[in-house]
Symmetry: C2
Subunit: 500 residues, 2 copies
């Protein structure tokens, strides 16, 4: 066996353990009876521990070195060279963090989650503060272990968006904020011109489910290599390129919940189903980053799923399923309703225009916290101040403000900006695909998505985690990651809807 | 940490890996999309391999030795002493079999299964013979590795029924055969006196499902620690004492399929749910043997579920759900229909009386094959000859004869006799419970099962795998394992139904 073959077999074992852990996670959120929770935590803990032990082993380090010699003649974008590069990155990162810190982080996240649930219920930030302080402190330590060139926050960001720098995000987000705040402001003066009450009628779950499956089929989601189930929080999970599952939730009193949840997860799943079979059982068989992943979910959810062309084909079908609710609604009226914009308090309920302002706020606050320019005592006021500044609304309590998201409580710091990066990238990719295939728009209006999906397959999906996200964007679009295309898209779309 | 604590933590890891593998197996048979099969095989292979490596490690051997010293003052039936005894047994067995043989057995079983599927379809025993010969030869080698005192077959049997001897089964089964053959013969002359056509009407799946869940609730199956799903072959699986799941299949044209399948699996599941919480994450958190497990499934399926008293309570409810089919059927008529006896060709479709004759036949043949008293060339004829002798029927082809069961193809030799041991033990346990609580019968007639379940919990379930099956039977009933109680039960029940 060559060193590369030996390395592959070791990485395959790690991949199997991670895949098994994902199956256990999927089951936990879909079908597991409540009694299973304690044993499940132990089983997941053991799988994660074994995968970690295998990743940080001296043997793996030696194999990486030996395999690198073997592939020295191959091109830098060959599967083999990329595999060794990414595996080395994972190995280095894992070796840098002492297992005591890993354990402390896990404990702090688990405690944070528990405390947060109660604090959120009672809107009591003070009760959450000590747990959050611990999480912030441990993340400063984590960043020091991982290392960074410019800013401490870079090290945390790099976990979710490899190669991305805080300074670059700051620059891009400033541009984004400068465009979004006035746009949201302009729309907020005309909020009443769009009515979405039609979405709040009673929509039977079984019919919603049927419609969702139909759109999934049309998009090209492969049910021979996936399935959709219900869960409290929608998610996508992959156990293999050939087994990529999504979940959704259904609200019978609000049509968009299941509908756009399904389209969003479908975007993630199309990505995972599209990764090259050659990368199976390697660390390359996943998305390039959270940002790239989100670009796929947002592309199918928003750029396709909230577009006029999409509904030209699908609205008559939806009317057929819900004639009582929709027979007297026009395509225009429905299109406007699903694109209604209103500055509001809760990120996960926000529209396309205001969503990124919620993300910007979190990014700015978490950088300041990590760099110790902001103390936790001042966090709720800072949150509310930015809400007022960016969105013109102020939370009446911390439940609807600083306590609304689970991320910090659960030890996810450096994660938020990837949501907005995904939005920006989605437009860059979508527009490039349309420039190369101008008939994509016509296809969408006929309920066909082959050209679009094929382009995404070739330029994004197939490569898995071979390239850094910035490199992938440049390869696919010829551009650097930037805010202007996204802003232009929003201005175009919403100027029309709101007659700005 | 004491050696015992250290041992416990190592065994817990093995238990976690096995539990995770069981989740993956459950998913594979219930919800996995077809594309997932290759990756799933790899994931399961890795989990099984890691669990095996941990089991046979020198470290575990040393811990077993050290822990045994620590518990030398404890009683022989303490959890600790039993744990060390059972873990040592597993360790010794696993160390005795070279990993090359383990791999060869796995390959032979996988190939055997593949070949068998086709051979069964075409009734072509000759096509299956080479694969089966390989499996038999490897099992002779396996038996030699495992070791035995009396007969080679003992070593194989011991994997499924620890401590049981071939000579003892031969003795008990002779008695059983002597009683069953004339009984089946006597009934076969009066087959026409019972009509089961009422069971072959159209029974809607959703209503069948509902009735099954209702009986599960009544039996005491805990849905907070389990659930029922559909699968092609019904099974029970346990990921923890607190997550024990069953599956069933539904045939809308034959009521008994789902109904008795559910009751059967419920029996297995009540056993697993009843194991002491103290045994969680140890090798003691499972049934004592396949025979004891089957005693539980058959007790609830047959001794309860096919009894007159049970239907006194449940038949009116079933009539309510299927009034069109059942309103003109009497309790007596229904009771007779579900207990119809007819000598037939297929084991899995056999009734209570003839079922064990199918098992006896397989046991006798596999012992003769393993001990080389029978060659594979003569196997089909030997099969057909015994069918004629025991049941008075002869398969028209090998599909309905020697090729009907998957066990041998899949490398399960020494497994069949446990089905009949389970039947015998079920009656011994049920009668002992009734002697101690004469009102069990009255309770059953009211749809109550607490007394029965509590007795089984205390005398069987709680102990998990602490005791050898023979020891468990003796502790619970005060008797040795024997055939007469079962024969007497059958004679009593079927003399009445068939007016013998």
């Amino acid at each position: 066996m060559t060193a590369l073959e030996h390395l592959r077999s070791k990485l395959a074992e790690i991949s199997d353990l991670n895949g098994a852990a994902s199956v256990l996670g999927w089951d936990q959120q879909t079908y597991m009876p409540p009694g299973g929770v304690t044993a499940r935590a132990e089983q997941l803990g053991t799988l994660v521990k074994l995968a970690h032990e295998k990743l940080v082993s001296d043997q793996l380090g030696a194999l990486l070195e030996a395999a690198r010699e073997e592939v020295s003649g191959l091109s830098g974008d060959s599967d083999e060279v990329c595999l060794i590069r990414v595996a080395q990155r994972d190995y280095d990162k894992a070796r840098k963090v002492p297992s005591t810190l890993v354990a402390e982080l896990a404990r702090a996240a688990s405690l944070g989650l528990e405390v947060w649930v109660n604090a959120r219920e009672t809107a009591d930030f003070a009760a959450f503060k000590p747990a959050l302080q611990k999480i912030v402190d441990l993340h400063r330590e984590l960043a020091r272990c991982l290392g960074y060139e410019e800013q401490l926050y870079d090290a945390l960001l790099d976990q979710y968006e490899p190669g991305m720098k805080t300074s670059e995000i700051t620059r891009i987000f400033s541009e984004l904020r400068a465009g979004l705040v006035p746009l949201a402001q302009a729309i907020s003066e005309k909020v009443a011109s769009v009515d979405d009450s039609v979405l709040r009628r009673h929509y039977a779950e079984s019919q919603q489910w049927k419609f969702g499956l139909d759109v999934l089929e049309h998009f090209g989601y492969d049910f021979a290599r996936g399935r959709q189930d219900k869960s409290v929080h929608p998610f996508t999970t992959s156990f293999s390129v050939n087994d990529v599952r999504i979940t959704t939730r259904v609200d019978e009193r609000f049509l968009p919940t299941a509908l756009f949840g399904t389209l969003h997860e479908c975007g993630h799943a199309l990505y995972e189903q599209g990764i090259s079979q050659n990368l199976e059982r390697t660390p390359l068989a996943s998305g390039a980053s959270l940002g790239i992943h989100e670009s796929q979910s947002r592309l199918w959810e928003n750029l396709v799923g909230r577009s006029h062309g999409f509904w030209k084909f699908f609205f008559p079908q939806l009317q057929g399923l819900f004639s009582e609710n929709l027979s007297s609604t026009s395509l225009e009226g429905f299109y406007q309703a699903i694109n209604r914009v209103e500055p509001s308090l809760i990120r996960v309920e926000a529209d396309e225009v205001t969503y990124n302002l919620h993300v910007l706020l979190r990014f700015e606050l978490e950088v300041d916290l990590l760099e110790q320019r902001l103390s936790l005592d001042d966090l709720p006021a800072a949150w509310n101040g930015k809400m007022k500044e960016y969105l013109g609304v102020v939370p009446p309590n911390n439940t609807q403000g600083v306590l609304q998201d689970v991320h910090w409580a659960n030890g996810l710091i450096g994660y938020f900006p990837t949501y907005s990066l995904g939005n920006l990238i989605s437009v860059q990719l979508f527009e490039k695909a349309q420039r190369q295939h101008p008939s994509i728009q016509e296809e969408i209006e006929k309920g066909q998505f082959t050209l679009l999906l094929t382009w995404l397959r070739d330029h994004v999906h197939l490569h898995g985690k071979k390239f850094l996200p910035a490199e992938l964007v440049e390869r696919a679009t010829g551009q650097l990651l930037q805010a202007q295309p996204y802003l232009a898209y929003l201005r175009r779309k919403y100027s029309e809807i709101y007659s700005l």
